[in-house]
């Protein structure tokens, strides 16, 4: 764990004076390796208190769509990638503070309860969805601290009658905090897909997101570059509003694949707002072909030809 002081000391203070001395530039190699052994021991002792990972009943694989940065298109992409998969898919909206899935999947209302007191997920376009948005009013904020959020996420995961699913896709909130930790510690995750726009500030956070999954031992399947380019509907001039190819460069740096490249298109936003995912309402659009490409790469989990918006 990192203790922060303005002097940028990274050795945990709890190691005492010995640990503090190791911060000095003249620390010897022997002292450093003793610190490493101590740190290993601490990690093992601390992990005894952590929750055990328990898989969700009926769900074959859990995939996570995350980013680190807000507003890059996690919910938008999560809904779409899995709509084109011809399998049983569930979608869990883990963004407790800003649930977007109800709006995008055109779902409303309180979930019913089964005789075993489990919540029945709401279904649309063949996908079973569960979100905090179904349990609260549209304008009601969720002003909760971490502990309550953890228990809400636990309920949304375990107290839902998912049935038999091939994939459960979890749409993560932005950030690297309580929700992400709770989910990765409580259930085994098959893989994570990181979404980012090409912007510098977004890439910074996407990198932190990747780092976080590495820390909690969740395999990262690859990166998706969203909002990559905008084509003016009148003159067809292409503008890279949020930058160009930033995600490809990041992927090279961290050694991951780019699963796909999705452009900025007005029809994606329009169909989101009206609750008709673009892959269903406008299957012939460019954006959809890219999503297909990204989905097939993800399933194969190996690099294939580059996906581009031009045929």
């Amino acid at each position: 764990s990192e203790m922060l002081t303005p002097l940028r000391c990274s050795t945990p203070r709890s190691l005492g004076r010995r640990g503090a001395a190791a911060c000095l530039p003249s620390a010897t190699r022997a002292r450093c390796s003793r610190d490493e052994v101590l740190q290993d021991k601490r990690a093992r002792i601390l992990s005894r208190g952590l929750p055990k990972q328990k898989p969700i009943e009926g769900v074959k694989q859990v995939l996570v769509v995350a980013s680190g940065k807000g507003g890059v298109g996690k919910s938008t992409t999560a809904g779409k990638i899995f709509l084109v998969v011809a399998k049983e898919v569930g979608l869990l909206d883990a963004d407790i503070y800003g649930p977007s899935i109800p709006k995008m999947m055109n779902l409303k209302g309180n979930p019913e309860l089964t005789p075993e007191n489990l919540m029945r997920p709401l279904k649309n376009y063949g996908i079973a969805c569960m979100s905090m948005g179904f349990l609260i009013e549209e304008t009601a904020p969720v002003v909760w601290r971490g502990l309550m959020v953890m228990s809400a996420v636990e309920k949304l995961l375990r107290q839902v009658d998912w049935g038999q699913l091939d994939y459960l896709v979890i749409d993560m909130p932005p950030g690297t905090g309580d929700v992400q930790l709770s989910i990765s510690q409580n259930i085994p995750i098959a893989g994570a897909v990181i979404i980012s726009t090409p912007q510098d500030v977004a890439l910074l956070d996407a990198r932190k997101g990747t780092e976080m999954f590495r820390k909690v031992h969740v395999p990262v399947l690859g990166l998706v570059q969203n909002m990559s380019v905008f084509q003016c509907p009148k003159c067809k001039h292409e503008t890279h509003i949020f930058g160009a190819d930033g995600v490809r460069d990041l992927a090279k740096t961290v050694g991951l694949d780019v699963l796909g490249d999705i452009p900025l298109q007005v029809n994606i936003r329009e169909t989101c707002d009206s609750g008709q995912p673009v892959v269903i309402s406008q299957p012939q659009s460019d954006a959809v072909s890219l999503v297909h490409c990204a989905k097939s790469k993800k399933k194969k989990k190996k690099p294939t030809t580059k996906c581009s918006s031009h045929p």
């Binding site: 807000g70 932005p174 309580d178 976080m212 905008f230 936003r269 989101c272 707002d273």
Partner: protein, 272 residues
């Protein structure tokens, strides 16, 4: 008793505290905070920015000072200055990390502790405005920030949204949060409102238009203005150009100047 303590503290020299909030992520809170700080500085004010987004601190990067260090003085931590004249000062967790790519994977209590330190231990000195840039949502960071700032009577909150329905929905929640916590809403800013193609000047509403204005009308809060999408902005950051110099030429500048002016007018009204 609380008021006396507030006056003597590190925030005693700060005249107005502004929070920039949004329920939704990625609407441009950090960008608007930065642009607002630059616009206020343009009007001759001394501005500080406190970045309480602990998981995704963007403010250091926007001013290109991400490699700066934070030093200690008698009164506490010294904020990072972005220019020679010391007209803009910053504090963010981004300056405290070993490497800029380090992930901050903390639970609530640890975040709360750091936010309390940010509020109490940073020696801001004399400032006209302190802008607090927040992460998306209504979580630990927000609750702690509002609680910690309460004794200093913040001027209010500016809510940023993009015009599309999913953003507006989340910002409605944020409005309710402000009401619940007694935070005054100074107004709503609609960001990424329209994109003008640099080639043919055709304006396309990529993220829709008017959603923020409608929300402001519906909720009975002032509408501060719409800020258009400017590709030059992110390009200048990518190419390492100085955003402080580039910003006055941007198409977003007039909109931000108007917003800054409304805030300044608001503060004059308050003091009179």
């Amino acid at each position: 008793m609380e008021e006396v303590a507030a006056e003597r503290s590190n925030l005693g020299g700060v005249r107005h505290i502004l929070l920039v909030l949004s329920g939704k992520g990625g609407v441009g809170k950090s960008t608007i905070s930065t642009e607002l700080a630059l616009s206020l500085r343009h009007s001759g004010k001394k501005v500080g920015i406190l970045d309480v987004d602990l998981c995704g601190p963007s403010i250091p990067r926007m001013f290109k000072v991400q490699d700066s260090d934070v030093h200690q003085c008698d009164a506490g931590w010294v904020p990072v200055f972005v220019d020679q004249e010391k007209s803009i000062s910053l504090m963010s967790i981004g300056f405290l990390l070993e490497k800029p790519d380090d992930a901050v994977v903390w639970r609530g209590p640890k975040k709360n502790a750091l936010i309390k330190q940010f509020v109490a231990d940073v020696a801001w000195g004399e400032l006209d405005f302190l802008i607090v840039d927040t992460p998306p949502g209504t979580s630990d960071e927000h609750i702690s920030t509002v609680e910690a700032l309460r004794p200093y009577k913040p001027l209010g909150a500016i809510l940023v949204t993009t015009p599309q329905a999913v953003s507006v929905g989340d910002v409605r929640r944020e409005l309710t949060f402000c009401k619940k916590t007694g935070l005054r809403v100074l107004g709503i800013v609609e960001n990424m409102s329209g994109f003008v193609c640099p080639h043919c000047s055709e304006c396309t509403n990529i993220f829709s238009k008017g959603g923020g204005e409608e929300l402001a009308k519906h909720a009975g809060v002032p509408f501060l203005g719409s800020v258009p999408l400017d590709p030059q902005l992110s390009q200048s950051l990518e190419e390492g150009r100085d955003f402080i110099q580039e910003f006055p030429k941007s198409s977003a500048f007039p909109a931000l100047t108007r917003i800054a002016q409304q805030i300044l007018d608001g503060t004059l009204q308050q003091s009179s």
